[in-house]
């Protein structure tokens, strides 16, 4: 139940955010910089996620997962 509320809360934020002041397409100069992207070097983030998952108990948060590995 608690988790369903979380999903609904996210959806509500999504709905309300469409009413936010918008940045026009020609004003996106700073947003276009690679440092403003969430994972500019996908392979680097994937490698880090992989070794962290083989050494830490938590995982996820970066989109879809592969099937893991038999890491020792």
């Amino acid at each position: 139940m608690r988790h369903l509320l979380l999903v609904v809360a996210l959806a509500a934020v999504a709905a309300s955010s469409t009413a936010c002041a918008t940045v026009k397409p020609w004003q996106r100069g700073q947003l276009a910089n690679r440092c403003m992207q969430f994972d500019p070097d996908g392979g680097f983030a994937a490698f880090r996620g992989h070794w962290q998952e083989s050494r830490e108990g938590a995982s996820g948060g970066s989109g879809l997962q592969g099937g893991g590995c038999g890491c020792k």
Binding site: L4, L5, V7, V8, A11, A12, A14, A15, T18, K24, P25, W26, Q27, R28, G29, A32, N33
Partner: protein, 163 residues
Amino acid sequence: MRAVASLLFLLGLSTQAFAQDAITPAPAIELPAEAGAPIALASLKGKVVLIDVWASWCVPCKAAFPAYDEMYRKYKDRGFEVLAVNVDEKRADAERFLRDRRHVLKVVFDPKGEAPLKFKVRGMPTSYLVDKRGNIRFAHEGFTAKDVALYERRIEALLAEAP
């Protein structure tokens, strides 16, 4: 239950109509050029004008720039003009881009974004073809190499029209 309610709410979100290609007069713009003196769109009446809204940070804009310059060289003797409206907030970024690219098309600077606001630009880059009477005839968003043939067909059609 709450999930269904929020689903319906989201589906009811108002939609934004996409910019249609319609025959409307091009908004009046007057912007400083590279040499410093301003260029007004009104002064180009009687010519077919390609207005390209571009920025140094926009990747497809970098591919479009030399293509538009080529088109300008090809058709300028027949009454064709290209007005490349730069919307970089920092002039230095635009100048770094232009420094290494030989061009004959006319670049004008619009750091405050007055032109894209008047033209209701929805994405970068967007280009407009304005006919000899000053009406917007075609609007095109984005750029790929395949677009060049399409542009040339449209430019030739507009050049063939009476002023």
